[in-house]
């Protein structure tokens, strides 16, 4: 397994320029055609936050003014996670002609998807300091924990997508199954609620979900409130993430040469 991960990382380094170029092109293709261009990465979450503020704080009279930011962080992190998985799952099939005719290590396409979504998440998160200033929240050193949350959720999604991309070649229904699973996970990962809203009896189960933990880390980093995040919970989540990344990479490296013949 270590050999597969080593080869994977070696290819990441060797083809880093290719990945960088593909991510840049994808960003240009995605945002270049709009008048506001990259402004959409900020405007989209900003508009969402305003809507959440109107619905949850103004209309429903919720006294928690931080709720819109909580929800926005949940949506941005979950969106990054789900897009890496859904696009990654379909990556080999979508690029079948390119793969069949180019001797490019297939994992480069997977890195491209993850890289693109991580950059998109980081660009969108620029809105967080703006929102913090608007809500008069103090900045603290804990904000750097947001990078742990970004790296963790990206690595977790990358590991899963490495596995599902191969399975999808053999079983095309995988893509639909993943779609359903992601929708279910959306409601189970605390996107619209945080750990503070969980009944005590269910909290420990909630914190077994690595996606929910990374969303909580993102929120805790902004609000400097780690009440529900012990070092044990964070450590366990990182271990689960690393295990999934290692297994996913090993699985991909073992089977991608066989799978590519069938795409």
């Amino acid at each position: 397994m270590l050999g597969a991960v080593k080869e994977n990382l070696r290819n990441l380094i060797s083809y880093f320029d290719v990945i960088k170029y593909m991510v840049k092109r994808d960003l240009k293709i995605t945002y270049g055609r709009y008048i506001l261009s990259y402004g959409w990465t900020l405007l989209e979450p900003l508009l969402f936050t305003l809507v959440f503020y109107l619905v949850f704080v103004v209309l429903r009279g919720n006294p928690d003014e931080n709720l819109p930011i909580n929800i926005m962080i949940g949506i941005l992190f979950f969106s990054c996670f789900s897009k890496i998985i859904s696009q990654g799952t379909n990556q080999l099939m979508k690029n079948s002609m390119f793969i069949q005719n180019t001797a490019l290590p297939r994992e480069i396409l997977m890195f491209k998807v993850t890289g693109f979504q991580v950059i998109r998440l980081i660009l969108s998160l620029i809105i967080v300091p703006v929102a913090m200033m608007l809500l008069s929240l103090k900045f603290s050193i804990s904000i750097i924990m947001i990078f742990l949350a970004i790296a963790g959720i990206a690595l977790l999604a990358h590991g899963i997508s490495m596995m599902t991309s191969i399975v999808n070649v053999y079983i095309p229904d995988t893509f639909m199954l993943i779609d359903v699973a992601l929708r279910a996970l959306f409601f189970l990962s605390g996107v619209f609620y945080s750990a503070s809203h969980m009944p005590d009896d269910y909290l420990k189960y909630h914190m077994l979900n690595p996606v929910a933990v990374y969303i909580e880390i993102g929120r805790a980093a902004v609000f400097n409130d780690f009440t529900y995040l012990s070092s044990m919970i964070i450590g366990r989540t990182l271990l689960i993430t690393l295990a999934i990344y290692f297994i996913g990479t090993w699985f991909f490296m073992k089977y991608n040469r066989r799978a590519v013949v069938l795409i």
């Binding site: 170029y21 593909m22 390119f98 069949q100 005719n101 001797a103």
Partner: protein, 238 residues
């Protein structure tokens, strides 16, 4: 072995070994068996054969896209495959972006690839279309661009799969000149085709394939073409 050398020893390739469901197994039943092949730098080899003979699979094995199920494939030097009118392109990207991407994949630096872009653009004859997405190109334009890119990257081994069927006569002529230049620089070229006139005009060695096996490997181009034509007639009668 020198740069541009290719050595296949007892190579077998079985699509079924890669499958787990019957539905997939039936899709691509062809298999390569016991392929032994040595190609020296500077040779221009034409591979003739009917559909399903295993020509394209053989090319993908040499390109390192597929792995053999048995035996070994050894190549020395940079290998480039140009197949099926530029299907190795990213369709949403422009021609210019695909030039840069191909160069980076081949291991060139961005700066070096940028210096090649104008020359590739002129050679391909695409003009301002170079900044349009590949999905808007005709098959002939894709073939010209694909050939131009690889010809400018100077690979040690250049594998060509059925691209001359879409190009016009002038494209064939400049392609032939460029291939001869490459061969004089000691590159190895393998051309897979159904078109015997391409083999006659480009190649100095011919290989005929049938049902996953090499049935003829000869420097006598006419002999190879005759065998291919005879087997075509026999197949038509069947």
């Amino acid at each position: 072995m020198n740069k541009g050398s290719i050595h296949l020893e007892n190579v077998g390739f079985d699509y079924q070994r890669h499958s787990i469901f019957n539905r997939r197994k039936q899709k691509k039943p062809q298999t390569l068996t016991n392929i032994d092949l040595k190609i020296a730098p500077g040779e221009v080899v034409g591979i003739l054969g009917h559909n399903g003979a295993g020509k394209s699979t053989l090319l993908r094995l040499i390109a390192g896209i597929y792995s053999p199920t048995s035996g070994s494939v050894d190549t020395i030097g940079r290998t480039s495959l140009l197949a099926n009118v530029g299907t190795g392109f990213q369709r949403e990207m422009t021609g210019r972006d695909n030039i840069i991407l191909s160069g980076l994949i081949q291991g060139f630096t961005l700066e070096h690839v940028m210096t090649l872009v104008p020359s590739i653009s002129v050679f391909s004859g695409l003009g301002q279309e170079i900044d349009e997405p590949i999905r808007t190109y005709s098959s002939g334009m894709r073939a010209r661009l694909g050939f131009s890119i690889i010809a400018h990257m100077n690979p040690d081994i250049f594998l060509i799969d059925e691209i001359f069927t879409v190009g016009d006569a002038s494209f064939r002529e400049i392609s032939k000149e460029r291939i001869l230049d490459m061969v004089n620089g000691n590159a190895t070229v393998i051309i897979v085709t159904h078109n015997e006139s391409i083999v006659k005009s480009f190649c100095n060695r011919v290989i005929c394939m049938e049902e996953g096996k090499i049935i003829l490997d000869s420097k006598n181009i006419d002999e190879g073409i005759q065998l291919y034509l005879d087997s075509s007639k026999a197949k038509d009668k069947r």
